[in-house]
């Protein structure tokens, strides 16, 4: 009897501590963002109003709700700056995810077909750059892409171009940076499913005279679809909100949405507008995030 009680005590503690932490530092902050997105900027500390004043009692609460408004959302809908920013983010995320798929799939496939003892080493090789700072990896590309950097020197030495090209501050640079940074996120989930793939289906198809491209198209690709979906989501969702890569490699004329939030907040000190842009971004990402969660939970239950 005593043991039973002890167990439920520990059990409840194990659940409650992380639960409380996530409620306090993930969910509640989110609700605050939602609330501030309905507020107006003010020259005050904090720089928005209304501020909920519980000391004023019920009239205070009523005044608080009366002062909330959708103005910031109207602003986002009417100012093309925000719309272009969202569209650019989705466009960059979609195309770079596609490029990642085309580069990442052959690599994951090749690793999965290597002899067993090589696979662990190769996976480590793919993961290793991910452990170094994103900032450093992007900075490394600033070195390479700058006006008289190695890329232009090599291209001119090979006489592919006559004079140095401007690589930095272009969308090309953003694509290079994004593909480079997110490659492990695409390769790893693909490798994880390809590695578990049952060899006998492929052998059966080959024995029956199926050409290799058709084996790939009809068997390998469909069987790896769960890893494919995981890789695509794991890349697409964070790329949409990326800040460091477009800020250091991209130009300033058409910012991605992460940069817009950053500028609204740090540059314009417009906290309500930054919050509203963030809320719309989350709404935009809710569908892929829900798909990702289902995917992640299913993957764990299968194991």
């Amino acid at each position: 009897m005593k043991r039973q009680q002890g167990r439920s005590f520990w059990q409840s503690l194990v659940v409650r501590i992380p639960y409380a932490w996530l409620l306090a530092f993930f969910l509640v902050p989110f609700l605050i963002v939602l609330k501030i997105s309905l507020s107006q900027t003010a020259i005050a500390q904090p720089p928005y109003e209304p501020v909920l004043d519980l000391a004023a009692g019920w009239p205070g609460v009523k005044a608080f709700f009366a002062a909330l408004s959708l103005d910031n959302y109207v602003l986002i809908g009417s100012d093309p700056l925000y719309l272009l920013s969202y569209m650019k983010s989705v466009e960059i995320a979609a195309f770079s995810t596609l490029i990642l798929l085309f580069i990442g799939y052959p690599i994951a496939y090749a690793i999965a077909r290597m002899p067993r003892r090589w696979q662990a080493v190769l996976v480590l090789l793919v993961v290793l750059p991910f452990w170094t700072s994103l900032l450093i990896r992007i900075y490394a590309w600033m070195n390479i892409l700058q006006h008289d950097g190695p890329l232009n020197q090599v291209l001119m030495a090979l006489s592919i171009v006559k004079e140095p090209q401007a690589w930095l501050a272009t969308d090309t640079a953003i694509y290079i940076g994004v593909v480079y940074s997110y490659l492990p996120f695409m390769v790893l989930p693909l490798y994880a499913t390809l590695e578990k793939l049952d060899e006998s289906h492929r052998e059966a198809a080959a024995d029956l005279g199926c050409p290799r491209w058709k084996i790939f198209w009809l068997i390998t690709l469909p069987l790896s679809s769960s890893g494919l979906l995981a890789g695509v989501l794991l890349c697409f969702i964070p790329i949409v909100g990326e800040f460091v890569i477009p800020d250091l490699l991209g130009g300033s004329q058409s910012p991605m949405i992460g940069q817009t939030i950053w500028t609204e907040f740090f540059g314009n000190k417009d906290w309500p507008a930054a919050s509203a842009v963030a809320v719309v971004l989350v709404c935009l990402l809710v569908t892929p995030i829900v798909i990702y969660q289902n995917q992640a939970m299913q993957a764990l239950e299968r194991e």
Partner: protein, 266 residues
């Protein structure tokens, strides 16, 4: 059957070159004697000695290390508890929102995590600084720890725990003597990942930091956003070296202790 095809080797080779060439170039440039970053002036360790005299930079490095130690430890404890809750305690009330809150931060854009935590800190009127960044990093990293530890717990033989309980061990004792040693490789890998994430983070720290808590990435960012600098090449090379040695050492250790590729399971 497992014959290595030329195409596969080629794909891997291209991939590895693409992943490593930029870092190699960065390290080579950090030994460039010339102040002009792109003009090669011979080998030199000049920029490394320069760093030691850069007091604000050294300060930031120590802040970042302390921050990573604190948040990685907190994230590991919380993340392990969350993994136990998800795997062991089955269908408790509110499991679904709990799981949602574990997985969502994994893909949540950092700008939003940073913004929302800052607004929380402002709303409760705490002074921002070291501890607010530590809380933010803990929240971000604990979910990664949970996923790693959870994967280990799922393929875990529960009969070992049952045996211990049948022999009269208390749940706490069972956990400490049986469960913990078995999931320790995953916990270690989780701690390392949390440490690396904290050391790496620019965006969340920029939002949640305050006076006196300028982390190394914030310092580097403010230096490099206007262009390439030789001193920064040296700083970045040191960080790459430290992380590279740590990860390789950890995966060798994991291999030696018979727990294959714990660090690579991320």
């Amino acid at each position: 059957m497992r014959k290595v095809s030329a195409f596969n080797l080629f794909a891997i080779l291209i991939g590895v070159v693409f992943l490593y060439l930029p870092i190699v170039i960065l390290v080579i440039y950090s030994f460039n004697a010339s102040r002009l970053v792109t003009v090669w002036g011979g080998w030199s360790t000049h920029w490394y000695t320069e760093l030691i005299n850069d007091a604000p930079l050294v300060d930031s490095a120590f802040i970042s290390i302390r921050l990573a130690l604190a948040s990685a430890t907190a994230a590991t404890i919380l993340g392990t508890l969350a993994a136990l809750a998800l795997v062991r305690f089955g269908r408790f009330r509110g499991r679904l929102p709990f799981a949602a809150m574990i997985y969502a931060p994994l893909v949540m854009p950092e700008v939003i995590t940073g913004l929302s935590l800052l607004l929380l800190f402002v709303a409760v009127a705490v002074d921002r600084g070291f501890w607010t960044v530590a809380i933010a990093h803990t929240t971000m990293a604990m979910c990664f720890v949970t996923v790693i530890v959870q994967a280990r717990l799922v393929d875990f033989d529960t009969s070992l725990e049952e045996a211990a309980m049948d022999l009269g061990a208390s749940p706490l004792r069972t956990f400490l003597a049986v469960t913990l040693p078995l999931i320790l490789p995953a916990i270690t890998a989780g701690w390392m990942l949390a440490f690396a994430l904290s050391l790496d983070d620019l965006v969340i720290a920029s939002f949640t930091t305050g006076p006196g808590a300028t982390t190394l990435p914030i310092r580097i960012y403010s230096e490099v956003r206007l262009g390439v600098k030789p001193e920064m090449n040296a700083v970045c090379s040191i960080m790459v070296g430290v992380v590279g040695i740590a990860v390789i050492a950890a995966s060798l250790l994991a291999k030696l202790s018979g727990t294959r590729g714990a660090a690579a399971r991320v």
